[in-house]
């Protein structure tokens, strides 16, 4: 039995706002962070919407010195990490440096800044590009920046696993603390909108609206036709329980289990997909030493893609059986869209807030039930309910299924 791991801090940079309160209030007030995209020129493309971060003031978190060198992803992650550190009341005087780590999930990391740099190379004289572009030209430069400014000396790791990157990062960080590799880990995800990200989704045909029908993020809805892309950074402080108690840290929730399966590489039948998704959930539940009946909230992956939502819904129905109608389901992507490598961390933070406040945010944009589904979706208004265990699903159609179980904290 490893060490117990708790969540002691939260930092959010999201399309609903750049404070955890803005994000949470936005969710329970049923707001949407989706709007016509302003940072990209999409004149020639069919899809126009995105969940962009709009009101971030990185200087309030990171100071103005050196800010000009920081690209968008680094501003997102640096700000979210600083908010989480402050929220957890963690000292950043170096006293915890050796026991502190950072594990961040990001599917693309700083890829788009790296390709921007290449674009500049071929447009001009490569020798003239500043060496300060080290802040851009490594896929993990945002994480490097955070480790330098917060003097993190324990470990630094960046995990790329497509849509599940940030859940995998938080799962990995949880395991590392369990095994005493570090006592405090800044964990979460970051992903930023760029033309690269847009085109990857667009060309692969994943975006809502590509079929000429409505462009909308509608998880589990009968008319769902793809996802709306999004960006942000969602960070939690994971901490070993004794360490948190000794410094009287605020404790939001406890991480109890992590499950991980894979459906990439080849074509799978729907049943195979359902079984693998179900297995990731079972693993997490088993590790938490509970059974499915103890789960009182599911934060669904539900991105609005036709097949993926079907697989998830059927996996949940199969796992929970006749009890499925008793388990409320939330789907944050209806409000914030699909933020790729950081989407799981967003859901985890939402679930942590639900565990803390006893409120489950409603799914917005829902118009018509899918007759194949028999789920207890939270619709129209937030649901008040005491939650002991929450399960967070995060899935990649061509990659991992990852699942995290958290609980309310009890000594």
């Amino acid at each position: 039995m490893g060490k117990r791991v708790v969540i002691t801090g939260i930092g959010v940079v999201s399309p609903l706002g750049c404070k955890k309160e803005d994000f949470w209030n936005g969710l329970i007030e049923g707001k949407s962070g989706i709007a016509p995209m302003t940072s990209l020129d999409l004149t020639n493309y069919k899809c126009k919407l995105g969940g962009e971060v709009r009101d971030l003031h990185p200087e309030t978190h990171l100071g103005s010195k050196g800010l000009k060198y920081l690209n968008k992803g680094t501003r997102f992650l640096g700000s979210a990490a600083k908010m989480a550190i402050d929220d957890a009341k963690l000292p950043v005087d170096g006293s915890l440096s050796n026991v502190m780590g950072i594990v961040i999930g990001s599917s693309l990391g700083n890829y788009s800044e790296t390709t921007d740099y290449f674009y500049e190379i071929i447009k001009g004289n490569p020798s003239e590009l500043s060496p300060m572009r080290s802040y851009d030209v490594a896929l993990n430069s945002s994480i490097n920046y955070v480790s330098v400014i917060f003097k993190i000396k324990g470990l630094a790791r960046t995990i790329s696993a497509g849509f599940t990157s940030s859940t995998d990062a938080i799962g990995d960080a949880y395991k590392m603390i369990q095994r005493d590799m570090a006592r405090v880990i800044i964990a979460g995800g970051v992903e930023q909108i760029s033309i690269d990200l847009f085109l990857i989704f667009y060309i692969r045909g994943l975006l809502s609206g590509l079929d000429g029908k409505r462009e909308l993020s509608t998880p589990f809805d009968k008319g769902r036709n793809g996802f709306v892309m999004s960006e942000g950074s969602y960070v939690v402080i994971l901490e070993e329980l004794q360490h948190a108690m000794e410094r009287c840290a605020p404790i939001y929730a406890e991480v109890k289990g992590f499950g991980n399966t894979y459906v990439g590489g080849r074509d799978y039948t729907e049943n195979e997909r359902i079984n693998r998704a179900k297995k990731a959930m079972s693993e997490a539940i088993e590790e938490a030493n509970i059974n499915e009946r103890d789960i009182t909230l599911i934060s669904a992956n539900a991105c609005g893609c036709k097949i993926q939502d079907t697989v998830e819904a059927k996996a949940i129905q199969s796992l929970f059986g006749s009890n499925v109608s008793n388990v409320p389901i939330s789907a944050n992507k209806s409000n914030i869209g699909e933020s790729y490598g950081t989407s799981g961390a967003a859901q985890i933070i939402s679930a942590v807030m639900s565990v803390n406040t006893g409120i489950i945010p409603q799914i917005i944009n829902h118009k018509e039930n899918d007759p194949d589904f028999n789920l207890n979706l939270v619709l129209e208004r937030p649901l008040k309910k005491e939650i002991r265990y929450a399960m967070i699903n995060n899935m990649d159609y061509d990659g991992n299924n990852s699942c995290l179980v958290i609980s309310i904290f009890n000594k």
Partner: protein, 404 residues
């Protein structure tokens, strides 16, 4: 505790395609540097790197890119490693317990660069169906999963120059936890013009040759290729009668938390990750018989690494052979520590230490036994592989002979 063993190795390096050819070159001290062929370097002060030569894949992978890709390099190395380990045929096994972890610095950036060069009117031109498919880093693990039927948990480690060792550490934990039976681990990278330019403008590139620990060292040379290791639980390997090449003993991780590109001058993070690794494995520093140094050939790295090794090993630092294979193949970035882990296993297997070539003038600040220029026969039991990355992102792994 369950032992974790290595049962297969695969390599694509600038000095040879395949483990056999590469190892012969390492033992002979062959220099893999060449004039850059894959893009025009006329606007640069440096024109050399360590490219993979004469690489040809005998099957056509999906996405059908004509030129070399990371996908092709890792495919080749993975197939070689799986053939050695006897895991090409997985009929009797639960493939959901076969995971994949691959490190890379730049992922498949070169196909994007190739596509954008002829038409630079806007960045969108760098994307077509193929680039959209290969661009996300996890396309690398997906390719391996597809062709080799591994269907367990996957991850791509984006930890710049320590990516390979991070992937190995991640896999080690998954195996110890008994979540999987086998993990295919390693790393792959190409030489994108982007990274070449970046290192060039940081003045980190050596113009002619890579001379780690030499007084006149001028920098690193970028290299490319892939290294793959098959890691598995000992009971699983023994039961299926697999050849056991070495034991993967453990690792240490640290972070300098100091500077975006420069290492800590006293090697603080390097000391922590080497010490943590040795402690995790339950050895004392004196037990280590060989150090495969990060040894990039930059003035800062080699000096700081030497200081760190002395701090960890005290007096015995001078007795432990410590070579940099980067002198021959250059710095393979995200693939570097994976390839060097393969080298470490080969050192254990063959009892030969590959040299640090291009070593000409001793440096009073770098005064360890770098195995200059000529390979050395020496049977060792425990080897340590260092990898340090930009941002002070450090990872050390330890491998031992399997004597049981």
């Amino acid at each position: 505790m369950q032992k974790i063993v290595i049962t297969g190795l695969g390599l694509v390096t600038p000095v040879g395609t395949g483990v056999k050819k590469s190892w012969e070159s390492f033992v002979q001290g062959r220099n893999g540097a060449n004039e850059m062929k894959s893009f025009d370097t006329s606007k640069y002060k440096v024109h050399r790197s360590c490219e993979v030569k004469d690489f040809h894949l005998d099957i056509e992978l999906e996405n059908q890119i004509k030129e070399n890709t990371i996908h092709k390099y890792v495919y080749y190395a993975a197939r070689e490693a799986l053939q050695e380990s006897g895991l090409m045929d997985k009929n009797n096994f639960n493939i959901e317990r076969f995971g994949i972890a691959i490190g890379t610095l730049a992922a498949e950036l070169t196909p994007f660069e190739r596509l954008l060069r002829p038409d630079t009117s806007k960045k969108d031109n760098g994307f077509d169906r193929i680039v959209a498919a290969v661009y996300p880093p996890n396309s690398i693990t997906n390719i391996l999963a597809k062709y080799f039927g591994f269907e367990g948990p996957t991850m791509v480690s984006l930890n710049a120059c320590s990516s390979g060792n991070h992937a190995i550490a991640w896999a080690y934990d998954l195996l110890i936890e008994n979540k999987v039976d086998v993990v295919m681990v390693g790393g792959g990278d190409m030489i994108p013009q982007t990274e070449f330019t970046h290192f060039h403008n940081l003045k980190a590139l050596a113009p002619e040759k890579c001379q780690p620990f030499d007084k006149n060292r001028q920098g690193l040379m970028i290299g490319e290729g892939a290294g793959i290791l098959i890691m598995e639980r000992y009971d699983f390997a023994r039961k299926r009668g697999a050849p056991i090449i070495a034991e993967m003993r453990g690792y240490g991780l640290s972070c300098d938390g100091f500077h975006m590109t420069a290492p800590h001058p006293e090697g603080e993070g390097a000391v922590k990750c080497m010490s943590d690794a040795i402690r995790m494995v339950g050895l004392s520093p004196n037990d280590i018989g060989y150090v495969n140094a990060h040894g990039t050939g930059t003035p800062h790295n080699d000096k700081a690494e030497t200081i760190a090794i002395k701090r960890v090993f005290s007096e015995s630092a001078y007795k432990i052979p410590c070579s940099s294979t980067k002198s021959m193949i250059g710095h393979l970035m995200g693939a570097a520590s994976a390839v060097e882990s393969v080298v470490c296993c080969l050192v254990l297997k063959h009892g030969i230490i590959p040299p640090t070539i291009n070593y000409e003038t001793p440096d009073t600040e770098c005064d360890l036994d770098y195995v200059p220029n000529v390979a050395r026969e020496l049977k060792v039991h425990h080897v340590l592989n260092n990898s340090f990355a930009f941002g002070g992102n450090n990872a050390t792994t330890i491998f031992s002979r399997n004597d049981n």
